[in-house]
Structures are given as C-alpha cells and as structure tokens.
C-alpha cells in the first residue's frame, strides 16, 4: 500500500536530483581554472558560525592581498581571483568546500582556512589531491604531527613557541626576582592551549611552581570558579591560553576577586583593538605574544600597512597579516617555479620549493621544517601607558618592559 508509492516517490526524487546535481557545481560562478589570464585561488573561511569573527580578519587580509597583487601586475602577469566559500565553522563543511573548490570550481591554487580545528580536515583534502596548502591559522603543535608534507604555516612560530622571548627574559632575571608560582588557565583549544603550555614547559624547567592548571571548554562563560582558584593560589604569574572573549571574562572575574599578580600574560586577546574598551583602564602591564606588528621594518610590511590602511581605514592586525603572509608565501613559490595550476606536478614543485627556500614576508623572513613548522619566534607585547607596545626582544622593543604589573 504505502510501500510502492513511497518507492515511486523516492525513485522519482533520486532521478530528479541526479538530473539536478549539475546545479550544485555550476551554481557558484567561482573562477574557472581554464581561464588563461586569471589565476583562481580557492579558500574556505568561517564566514558564519562560532569562528566567524576572527575569520573575518583573515578574509580581509586575503582580499587586500589579492587587490594589491592585481594593482601591481598580478601573479605571473595574470589576474588573481579569489573564490571564498563559507565553511560555517564546521569540519564537515570545510572538507566539502575544498573538495568543491578543487574539483568543481577548478581553482589553480588553494589557501588555508581559519582556526586550527578546521585546518586538519582541510589539509587532508589538499594532500589527497596533491595541492600545496599554506595556511594562516593552524598553529597548534598537533597540526604538524599528522604527516602532511604539503602544509606550511604562514606565521613566525607555532603555538608552543609564542612565549619564547618572555621565557628567555624570565630566565635571565636574577633567581630571586623570578616569579615563584604560576597559574595557568587555558581554553580547550589546540592553539590556545599550545601557547599556555609552551610557556608552562619553559617555566617549570626553570623551577617556577605550577599552582593552578585549569582547562575550560570553549563555550565557558562563567569564569568565577576558575578565578576563585587562581585568586586562592595567589600565583606570581598568571598565564591565560585565551582567544578573545574568554580572556575578557577571566580578567573581569579575577578583578572581581581582587587578585593581583606580578605578571599577567594572555594570548591573542590583548592584541585585539577592542580589548582596551572591554577591560577599561585596567590594561596596564598585561602581556601578550604577537607574530606581527604594523611597525615592523621588513621591506614588504610598509607596502602592506599602507595599502591595507588605505583600503580599510585601520592598520592591519595579526589575522590580516597572516593571511597576507599566506599570499606572499604562495606567490613567492609560484613566481619561483613559474607555474600555478592544479596539475599535481606543478603543485609538487611549489611544495618542494617552499621546503628549501626562505620567503620574505610582512612578519619577517620565513623558513619551514619538513613538517611545515615555521622557524621563527613571536614578539612579546605589553600595555605600556595604555598602548600596546613591543617590549621583547629588546632589539625590537618599542617600550620598556614593566616587570611588576600595576594593580588592575
């Protein structure tokens, strides 16, 4: 009774969708790879969903880079065209997006997505099709242990090494002045945890006692309990493996409990322009690692900052810089081997070239090890007189390091 009708409907639907499958692939205009005077580059970014906000910075960086390239003669003399898909902050989607970019839209090159959690599934697709995969956001140590030989991280250092200069600085202090105890609170996210635990490993090595070690889920909104533990320990140094809002919440919760550490370091958040607004006038002395500063003197950086500021009104941030760096890295390889097409042979040449050469970028000269780890280090910034300034390493410092943080 119902069975045959349902069967008929299903069969009809199957037939219909078979006929319609073309729609999915041809629906997006994209950039046909067959076009001779353009090079199309496919990117999937979290334009909506949980990672959409930081993802926007990467998008701006990519778009600025493409615009700059086209104003300056293009890539290999051809126009650069970006095809950006929205991965909705989901791993399933990010893989499907690259699958589509490579197979259906026929892009010549691909750039990496945003957020560590999406890098691995995307890199897998790229690897399977033999594509070069330079990415602006997968800094977690685990990204580089998956056996991807096509992956390169376009930033100075992987997450564990972000605090290296701070660790060096503490190590250089007379033992009596070093912090004795440390409290760590990190978001359960490969990148954020990577930064905090990188520093933790170094500090523990030099005998700084870990008194609090908390990991919280990414969706945590109530930090009062973590703050209570930190405050109770009264640690000398507070290290936050944070992204953005969690740092704001954690700092507010710590203030509510009147906890005053001698040093407080948080990843990512303090470099965000909205951070001082959210914290108010209590930012003084807060430390943060950064891979990029608009004031850096690398040759290409001036062009970048000028172009970007003219385009968007504000100077670029770290996400924008990493995206731009990705563009620079790929462009350098393309210009060097003189090819940019999806053919595996060309892609392999690009990969091989990057493994062996140094690239000048807005974050400095970059080289990679065989697994794609960049071989640089992050600078350390600190809020000094209400402005965030580079304080370490000393040869790049814009301001004096504040050794004892004023109360917040």
């Amino acid at each position: 009774m119902k069975v045959p009708t349902s069967l008929r409907i299903t069969a009809l639907a199957v037939a219909g969708s078979l006929a319609l499958t073309g729609c999915i692939s041809s629906g997006d205009s994209g950039g046909g790879g067959g076009d001779d005077d353009t090079i199309s580059i496919g990117i999937s970014l979290p334009l909506t969903g949980d990672y959409s906000e930081p993802g926007k910075g990467v998008q701006q960086g990519y778009e600025a880079w493409a615009a700059w390239m086209n104003e300056n003669g293009g890539l290999l003399g051809k126009e650069v065209e970006l095809t950006i898909l929205d991965d909705q902050s989901s791993a399933d989607r990010v893989a499907a997006d690259y699958e589509k970019l490579i197979n259906s839209d026929g892009v010549d090159l691909i750039f990496g997505p945003f957020s560590t959690r999406l890098v691995v599934p995307a890199a897998q697709v790229a690897q399977d099709y033999g594509f070069l995969f330079v990415e602006p956001a997968g800094a977690a140590p685990e990204v580089f242990t998956q056996g991807f030989d096509n992956l390169f991280y376009a930033a100075p250092a992987v997450a564990d090494d972000h605090y290296d200069y701070l660790a060096d600085h503490i190590e250089a202090m007379p033992p009596a002045q070093r912090p004795k105890t440390a409290a760590y609170a990190a978001m359960d996210d490969p990148f954020a945890m990577g930064t905090a635990y990188g520093l933790k490993a170094r500090l523990e090595e030099m005998g700084v006692k870990t008194v609090v070690d908390e990991v919280y889920p990414p969706n945590t909104t109530d930090f009062s309990s973590i703050a209570a533990k930190v405050a109770d320990s009264n640690a000398d140094i507070m290290v936050g493996g944070t992204q953005y809002q969690d740092a704001v919440n954690l700092i507010l919760a710590l203030q509510q409990l009147d906890y005053q550490p001698a040093m407080a370091a948080f990843s990512t958040a303090p470099t965000n322009p909205e951070f001082p607004e959210a914290i108010g006038d209590k930012t003084e002395g807060i430390l943060s690692p950064t891979g990029y500063t608009p004031d850096a003197t690398y040759p290409s950086n001036k062009e970048f900052v000028e172009f970007y500021t003219a385009e968007y009104g504000d100077p670029p941030g770290e996400d924008q810089a990493n995206a731009w760096t990705t563009g620079q890295v790929v462009a350098a390889a393309v210009e060097a081997v003189d090819c940019a097409d999806p053919d595996p042979e060309c892609q392999q040449q690009l990969i091989d070239w990057l493994h062996e050469n140094e690239v000048e970028t807005v974050v400095g000269p970059l080289t990679w090890d065989s697994e794609g780890r960049p071989q640089g280090a992050h600078m350390i910034q600190q809020y000094v007189d209400g402005k965030i300034r580079i304080v370490l390493p000393e040869d790049q410092a814009e301001a004096e390091f504040i050794a004892v943080k004023p109360p917040w």
Binding site: G49, V215, Y216, T220, S224, Q255, Q256, L257, D258, A278
Partner: protein
Amino acid sequence: MSLLLQSLVLGVLLGGLYALLAAGLTLYFGVMRVVMIAHSAFLILAAYLAWFWTTETGIDPMVSLLWTVPLFFVTGVLIQRLLISRLRPATLTMMSVLLTFAVALVIEGTLGFVFTGTQRRVQLPYGGADISIGGVNIAVVKLIAFGLAAASLLALYLLLTRTKFGQALRATIQHPEAARLVGINTERTAGYGFGLGLATAAIGGTALSLDSTIYPSLHWHWIGPLMAIIVVGGLGSIPGAAIAAMVLGVGQSLLQIPLGTTWAQTFFYIALFATLMIRPQGFFGGRLAQRF
C-alpha cells in the same frame, strides 16, 4: 578554606539563577506537559535584548526588564495558543519538544543573522566591582543577578500560593481534568502559565547579561543543566526544581575545585542519570514524570 567558602558563595549565586530558570521550565511542563527546549534560547534572546538596549541607549540593562518581561509574557501566551495547542494531544509531548526545538533553532539562527556570532558582553561601570565579606569576595553584578532571581522567585511563589490565578494554575498542573471539573478554564490558564514561564526567561536573560558573555549558540550550554535540574527536582514541581537547582549549582561549584571546569559540568548529567535510574519521579516532589 577560603576557596571552599568562595566556591560555596559562587555556587549559591549561580544556583539562584538556575532556580529561576528551572521554575520557568517547570511551569511549562506543569501546565502543558511540554518540555520547552526553547527556554534557554529565549534566555539568550533576552540577554541579547538587554545588551542591545544598553549599547544603543547607554541605560542600565536592568531597565530593559520593563519591556522585555511583558513582551516575553505575551510571546509565551501566543506560543501556547498558536503553536502548542495546535498539536494533537496524543503526540503532544514528543511533537512539542520538536516544535520548541525548532523555535530554538530559529532564535539561534536569527540572533546569528542579526548580531553575528561575535561574543558580546554588556560593559558596566561596576562590572569588576566586588564586595568583600569575611574573606569572601562577591562580585556586585553576581549579587544583583542573584537578587533579581531571588526576588522573581519570591514573586512567583506568592503569585502561585496567594492569588486566585495561582490556585487555578496549581490545580491545572496537578490535575487538569479535576481543574476543568471545578470550572477552571485550563486552556487559558495554561496560556498564562506559558507566559509566566517565558517571563522568567526574560528576567534570567537580563541577569545573565550583567555578568556573562553571550553568543547565539550559548543556549545549548544552559538547556542541558536546566533539564537535568527539572528531572532531578521532579518534573512539574516548582519547589523541587528550585531546591534541585540550588543543590546542583552549589555541587557544581564545589566540584570544580577538585575536578576542574569541564568534569564538574558532567555533575548535572550524572545527577540526571542517577535520578532516572533510582527515582524516576524525581527527588523533590513532583510525580508527573511517572505518567509522562
């Protein structure tokens, strides 16, 4: 020791908010046998409205209660009238879950659409202020949120026990057929019950906005613990829900000391499973679970 005391205080403050929200969920379940999945989505919606109000006008978020509470009450009545009451009684429990789930998705999607997925937080001049009593620091915003929740719960309690409408509502919860027999318009009462439930979400959301970051998908973070609370408290029992909220809120807060944030959250779910295994009708009253 001071950490223990501090955590205890934090737990009580948190438990107050849980209690108010769980009371709302219990109301829906009581009057309609509906598990209102969208409750926490409305909570977040209210928090967004409070945040939006404050960023646009610069006036304290608590003032937004003046219009969010009536708005939510009316919305609640309308949801009951226009959506829930359309469902067939035979499949009401299941279908209402799906329907309110759909409402939650629509709210989450719309919030993301309008306000993007960015995390938001109301900036208050007293955001980081605290009061110190006997070695325990209490954040002013948390105290206000707790006060708001406690006052609303008290008002709800008085409404239920001291007014004619409250009697009708309780009768409808306990025995709808009997309530109809004594001349109570249970349909209308159920509508108002729904409105009241949603009003608790408005108050809770405003309280939440004082001291928390909000983002569209945050409601999933709340609905789990809240559902655990109403089951542990005994589906349909408001005092049960309030007690369970306190116990679980304090428990979670204390367990964070040895277990850390993540594992402490599982406390709610362990309590939920334990309740269903040992005493499915809940530990504090309500026996409605037995039949539904």
